[in-house]
């Protein structure tokens, strides 16, 4: 122990010791639980489950297919109203952002927009609504994006690993958009976003509408204070979605949107999607659009299904090769594949599609080849979070060499691997560093599996 270690311990202990306990620790907790529950839409005293949260923001016009069953917004982008009404979203000048706009400061919006631009070159994302979803304590945004000839709407969650676009779809200009999301404890959240000053109504039974006239929005003012404001035309409520309908009325009284309430998104993430953080250089990596094209070709899909991609690691080699490794899947499919994609090599873009990702792999590994000016490949080893030391045995002699990764790679290591290597091995220790209990000990080749074979 160094002198600083000892002084640090004493300082922390001394500072903590002078703190008197709170007189009534339960009081503040109860208030917060109540607030969280209001957001969650809790069960009523009668035992009926309340469920969806609807955000009504709004201003549309034009009469819709009133009295008829409007298309499910998941399956169709057909607008319910005439596109000439002032309430219809103008992609060139979207509705103003609503919610807790302070959440956009501090680089959050910039991060989301950069990630979006990587996925859809030329498309610019504009937030429509931003909030912190209390059960997850994560910032969420509803957004619209255009600029590349395609109008898209979606929902993004900004968590520790980075932005996760949990909903994304092509759309047409309309007077309202619905976003159905997984809520807490198995319930669905439904957000209806329309133009400012519109009114949103909801019919649990599909017939009897009730206005969602008030929405409580909490703004964070400082480290320990917040204000809650209620505004008409911006409502959050609790409803059930099955058999329910949503209707939006413009400020001139015209019903501009009417549709079945969306259910749980069919675009739910695959069950084998890893919750590992994205590591490496977030701004690097090749075009995700190109990766999607390559993935579609590799899997032989021709139905135009949208490709989703979640990077696990992105980086650049010294020789200028940009690469990314992660998981790709077709939207709506139940399983994701392990993939890698590299550009800037000696013979053009290189795409590799691996097998369906195991549910809880101890480690993923990929080879980046075609590196200019070198005779070796780069082996990218992505251990599961909280793994320990990674060691490499280049020629199966048992001489494992500890590999040190860069700090900001958070456990991911890069290894120069001979092109003719066949018997090299890898060892990944667990988070406790126990030598006799590695999470992976075996040949590298077993980790380099394609769709049908390894090696």
């Amino acid at each position: 122990m160094t002198p600083l270690d000892a002084e640090l311990r004493r300082t922390l202990a001394n500072r903590a010791a002078v703190l008197s306990p709170s007189p009534d620790p339960l009081a503040g907790i109860e208030a917060r639980v109540s607030r969280m529950r209001r957001r969650r839409s809790a069960a009523t005293a009668a035992g009926a489950l309340a469920v969806v949260a609807a955000v009504a923001l709004a201003v549309p016009s034009v009469v819709s297919d009133r009295g008829t069953t409007a298309p499910d917004r998941l399956a169709s982008a057909t607008p319910t109203g005439r596109t000439s009404h002032p309430s219809v979203l103008d992609p060139a000048k979207p509705w103003p952002v609503r919610g807790d706009e302070q959440l956009l400061a501090g680089g959050a919006l910039d991060t989301v927009q950069r990630e979006w631009a990587r996925r859809h070159p030329g498309s610019v994302l504009t937030p429509l609504f931003v909030q912190v979803w209390e059960p997850s304590a994560q910032t969420e945004m509803a957004f619209v994006a255009s600029g590349d000839g395609v109008l898209r709407v979606g929902w993004v969650v900004v968590g520790e690993p980075g932005p996760a676009f949990v909903q994304e779809e092509t759309a047409t200009a309309d007077s309202a958009y619905q976003f159905a999301l997984d809520g807490d404890e198995g319930v669905t959240r439904l957000y209806v976003i329309a133009a400012p000053d519109s009114k949103v109504a909801y019919a649990p039974d599909g017939v009897t509408y009730r206005d969602i006239t008030q929405t409580s929005v909490t703004h964070t003012d400082g480290p320990s204070s917040s204000t809650t404001t209620s505004r008409s035309g911006f409502g959050i409520t609790a409803v059930e979605t099955a058999g329910a309908r949503v209707r939006v009325t413009a400020s001139d009284g015209a019903v501009v949107y009417e549709a079945d309430a969306r259910g749980t998104p069919a675009t739910a993430a695959p069950a084998n999607l890893l919750d590992w953080p994205s590591r490496g250089t977030a701004s690097a990596g090749p075009s995700v659009h190109d990766l999607g094209v390559a993935f579609t070709r590799a899997l032989g899909r021709s139905d135009g299904a949208a490709v989703e991609y979640r990077p696990l690691f992105t980086g650049d080699t010294d020789s200028g090769v940009r690469y990314t490794v992660g998981q790709a899947w077709f939207r709506g499919d139940p399983q994701a594949y392990s993939v890698s994609y590299a550009t800037g090599g000696t013979d053009g873009p290189h795409f590799f599609v691996g097998p369906v990702t195991p549910s809880a792999p101890p480690v993923l590994a990929f080879l980046v080849g075609n590196l200019p000016g070198t005779s070796v490949d780069q082996l990218v080893v992505v251990p599961a979070p909280r793994s320990g030391q990674v060691s490499y045995d280049a020629d199966a002699t048992g001489a494992f060499r500890p590999i040190t990764g860069q700090d900001h790679f958070d456990g991911v290591v890069l290894i120069d691997r001979a092109k003719d290597a066949t018997a090299d091995r890898l060892e990944v220790l667990n988070g406790n560093g126990e030598l006799d209990n590695p999470t992976y000990f075996g040949p590298v080749a077993a980790l380099l599996c394609g769709l049908k074979e390894c090696g």
Binding site: L4, A13, S22, I29, M36, A105, A137, T220, D410
Partner: protein
């Protein structure tokens, strides 16, 4: 949650909140934020109470919620919290090393939340590197590098740089 669950939760809060408040205080640096953080963490714990199966590991669970809430994105949007003023303290605090402790406290407030959390878990809670890694949700290697970086920053702090007690022993490395 049924009545017995509520009673168990209340008993837990009453019994453990003084200690948890101290940890929250060291994470945030001031009392107001510490109470805010602890109440939020305990409210989340309450809502998850029925799903927490290992009641003997409750402290570990709450500690993790404390740290993740403190370092979470929505809190990061605020400026880094300033540590409160060093108060006038009787008794031991007039000892010769009080100046060093005050300087250390101030310097801790300049660390990032993640670095501060690593330092508090390692040097106040006395958690092992592996336990700290589990609480922070990072690898042991990252715990080592984060803690090492935090200590380096403390040593390089202008208020501590010339104090021999903050220096490394001769020949040692951070």
């Amino acid at each position: 949650m049924d009545a017995s669950g509520r009673e168990a939760f209340q008993a837990y809060v009453v019994g453990r909140s003084p200690a948890l408040l101290r940890t929250a205080y060291l994470l945030t640096g001031n009392r107001a934020d510490a109470e805010d953080l602890l109440q939020t963490a305990l409210a989340k714990t309450y809502l998850a109470w029925d799903r927490i199966r290992e009641r003997e590991a409750l402290d570990a669970y709450v500690r993790r919620v404390l740290v993740t809430t403190q370092t979470s994105f929505w809190r990061r949007k605020r400026p880094e919290a300033l540590y409160d003023e060093v108060p006038e303290r009787p008794g031991r605090d007039v000892h010769a090393d009080a100046d060093l402790h005050d300087a250390l406290w101030t310097s801790l407030g300049r660390l990032s939340r993640k670095q501060r959390a690593a330092v508090v878990l390692r040097y106040y809670e006395d958690l092992s590197e592996a336990e700290t890694a589990r609480v922070l949700g990072i690898s042991v290697g990252t715990v080592k590098s984060t803690t090492s970086r935090a200590l380096s920053l403390l040593r390089e702090d202008p208020t501590l740089r010339d104090d021999p007690r903050a220096a490394l022993p001769y020949g040692a490395t951070a």
